[in-house]
């Protein structure tokens, strides 16, 4: 993407943030962070626990306010002292957030009422709310559950309801703060497909905070937070090619990326890099086929005891 020519939608300049601990010390989390986010991007944010990923997210929709530095969203300085309470609500309508635990963010006893909750608080016309709720239900594939109680849904379904509640407020950006961490593989998949669709079909800017590498490679851009700031920033391929730099700050790369990296280190020639199993297979198969008789290899391999 030619980000250089475009105007960033969200822009952070020299943002600092620290928490006060109970014992009165200051715990500095972000230091002089500058970052530009463009409309329509799908960004994955990686970082260790406590590295400041969630802090960054909360600064963007004004749950937290930076100690210093400026944040502009769509050209408006949200760190300006002139911000009124209405302005803050407006920011939060634009920048939706979905959290980790689905049970902490559903408020109503019926799915469609839960989705309507945000709109109602914004004072949207009832007929318009109806329209938006139906549309949001459809977007997250939950229309069949409109009258169900949220408590009887699976984790993945609950998260999709939470997402629908955000979509109904017509945000342009949604931040997912480890929204898949509590879900089983199927639930993760449902939520990730939904996120990808919001980004692709509705042009919603997505910031997805995760520890899951398979999810990170779905993004267009990966931002790694470490040492109180942006440590790496690039496409998944660029970021994950820095295997050693990532591991030195306690982070992983996708399993097959790690495998190919180790094979190269062990002297296996003819490998590039890979993010997913298909890519890795495409590189490994020619090597496997070329040099040994397949049957002999199998005999040799079977002798190796199961560890």
């Amino acid at each position: 993407m030619n980000n250089e020519q475009k105007t960033p939608y969200i822009s952070l300049r020299d943002v600092c943030f620290s928490y006060d601990t109970e014992s009165g010390e200051k715990n500095e989390v972000l230091k002089n962070v500058s970052l530009d986010i463009y409309k329509g991007e799908f960004i994955a944010v990686l970082g260790r626990n406590g590295s400041g990923k969630s802090t960054l997210a909360k600064l963007l929709n004004m749950i937290l306010v930076p100690d210093s530095g400026t944040i502009t969203i769509g050209g408006h300085d949200i760190t300006s002292p002139d911000m009124t309470e209405d302005d803050v609500y407006e920011v939060r309508r634009h920048i939706g957030m979905v959290f980790q635990n689905p049970d902490n963010q559903l408020v109503a006893t019926v799915v469609e009422e839960d989705i309507a909750f945000g709109c109602e608080n914004l004072g949207v016309e009832p007929s318009e709310i109806r329209r938006r709720v139906d549309e949001a239900l459809e977007t997250v594939n939950m229309t069949a559950f409109a009258r169900h109680s949220p408590h009887q849904l699976s984790g993945g379904q609950k998260q999709r309801v939470a997402i629908a509640g955000i979509i109904a407020m017509l945000p342009d950006t949604i931040i997912f703060d480890e929204s898949t961490a509590m879900l089983d593989p199927q639930g993760r998949d449902e939520v990730m497909q939904t996120i990808a669709r919001l980004n692709r079909d509705m042009g919603i800017t997505v910031m997805h905070i995760t520890h899951n590498m398979n999810e990170a490679i779905m993004a267009d851009r990966v931002i790694v937070i470490a040492d109180c700031g942006v440590y790496l920033d690039g496409t998944p391929r660029e970021v994950f090619s820095s295997v050693e730099r990532l591991q030195s700050v306690g982070l992983d790369v996708p399993q097959v990326t790690d495998l190919i990296y180790r094979l190269k280190k062990n002297g296996v020639k003819g490998l590039d890099d890979a993010l997913d199993p298909d890519e890795a297979a495409a590189q490994l198969l020619p090597l496997l086929a070329k040099t040994i008789p397949v049957k002999d290899a199998a005999l040799g391999a079977r002798k190796i005891p199961v560890s």
Partner: protein, 286 residues
Amino acid sequence: MSSIELQNINYIYSAGTPFEKAALTDVSVTFGGGVITGLIGHTGSGKSTLVQLMNGLMKPTSGTVLLDGKDIWAEPKKIRDVRFRVGLCFQYPEYQLFEESVMLDIAYGPKNMGLSDAEVKRRVADAVRFVGLDPSLMQKSPFDLSGGQKRRVAIAGIIAMEPEVLILDEPAAGLDPVGREEIFGGVRAFQRERNSTVIIVSHSMEDMARYSDELVVMDHGRVHMTGRTSEIFRRSGELTKVGLDVPQITRLMNILRNAGAEIPDDIFTVDRAAEELTKLLAERKG
């Protein structure tokens, strides 16, 4: 080393009401001693119900739970003893911290067991060592710690009770790679040193591939399959069918095999794959 055996367990929520729902149907499974067993299955497959039956938090609608061959409900008044012997650590246990200091929080369980102060102190020190907490944190408020540290304090609180059977529900959920390694490493050290039975409920197939010895796979309230972790991950097709996943490495190995490459079928960690492929590809060079 203790074992837990469940025999013909049925558990029905809200029995006798219109909301009646069978959570477990005819479950018979044994969790043997001296290994880490992963308990996996889709949401609602009955994993959490199963673990709550194992330490007597819930009573089966029918069927028997045996701890070392003895029915845990034979003397309902002694169920508290079972809960000391079978330690259950819930999901997100850090939300259950409440004491003024890390030390007091970890000591809470053993104190309630009526142990002497010296014994409590020893157990707390041991537990802290297992979970890899920095001893300098002991006098701090648990609420001043990071998420990963809080999680470890909570798990230490269970380990300090030195249960014969340790059950952890998603102990590493939401933790970064280093945090996961520390938690699972600590659990492994505890299991080895005490030769105890450890059961881990998890949705992460990558973690289970790395850290479990055996697996019990649940599906819709029934035990779908059990076996060595290596055997279960060979059956990746079946895992996918019951709403589970396989690690990225297992998927890669399947692709290679399906394309005709002869690769051993027990590879499901990066370490093993790197070792094996290096061997194969190096052999070919020479």
